[in-house]
């Protein structure tokens, strides 16, 4: 069940985990992709990403490695771990239930 007090943190987590489910990304790339995919609705200051990424990494949900991309600088690239994939599935379910209940209340109020 989603904790209403930590909705913003949980939202950031699920956004990052779902973006990483498509493949490894580095920090800057993650911020840009989330912003583009959401049409600018979710805009991260890149510097604010680090606490979220490092927390997820400490929890074993993502893994960060310094990778050597051909002809480019080394970058810290994050990928989803098996535990991260499980957490993502759970979070998607929790968010679906959350929005279902939320709209039940909102739509009822409108009628």
């Amino acid at each position: 069940m989603l904790d209403i007090q930590n909705l913003s943190r949980s939202c950031n987590e699920v956004l990052i985990l779902s973006t990483l489910s498509s493949g490894p990304h580095h920090g800057y790339q993650l911020a840009i992709e989330i912003e583009e995919e959401s049409g600018g609705a979710f805009r991260f200051r890149h510097g604010t990403l680090y606490p979220i990424l490092h927390k997820l990494e400490n929890d074993g949900l993502i893994q960060g490695d310094w990778l050597d991309e051909e002809g480019q600088r080394k970058r810290k690239s994050y990928r989803l771990t098996a535990a991260g994939r499980d957490r993502l599935s759970l979070q998607i379910l929790e968010w679906s239930q959350f929005f279902e209940r939320f709209f039940n209340i909102v739509v009822e109020a409108k009628q």
């Binding site: 920090g27 790339q29 510097g47 490092h54």
Partner: protein
Amino acid sequence: MKRFAHVLNAARGQLKIPEPSRTRVLLEMASDLEDSYQFHLSQGCDETEAVRRAEEAFGTSEEALKHLTRIHESSLGGMQDRLSGQIGTAWEKLILLAIVAFEILATVKIVSHQAFFMFLSPFLWPIAALALAALVFTAWKLYQIFGRRGSDVRQIRSGLGALLFFAGASLAVTGCGFLFHLQRFFRHNWESAPDSLFVNFAGWMATMSFMMILGLMLAMLTALFWFVLLHLAARTERREIEALLGTEA
């Protein structure tokens, strides 16, 4: 990448975590800032504008840095970093070197002792294999740090935990070996020589102690290698970030 030195220096001042963790966070920030800068250049901005936009998009808040501090303070990596950061002065380095040298000499002394070969337990082979693996791994890491040109400072740290695994495994094999031979000793001596059990046991302990001391020494030596490499990795990372920040000594 010195163009972002003031942003990174400001973040460095606010991150109250052990130096090795702080250096790694700053290296990551520097890399992302550079990516952002390159992106804005590719969009047609001039250099000054690209730097301004990269800094604007970056925007670490005080709250974010405090959060980052809390995460790294409580992590296992943070604890390791506090440990490796304790070797700073020349005296501390000298003492560490003396301990390593003593450990190596004591291990060689045990192995070269005649009594060591009187009882060669089969458990010695896995202990020797673990020690050899630790030695090869340490030599490879030292080569990465000192010998190989173009080796990446960010990858020096990778896999260092394997040394702790070797040390733990060495201890576990030594413990298992001791228990195995202990139960064998009592099984053989309990009925055949109950009167001289304790005399025989003292003799058995003297023979066994070589294997046990060797196992413990090798485990300690492996753990010391891990500690030294952790310290060297932290020092190399610190030099890299100091070059980026323009604060080299």
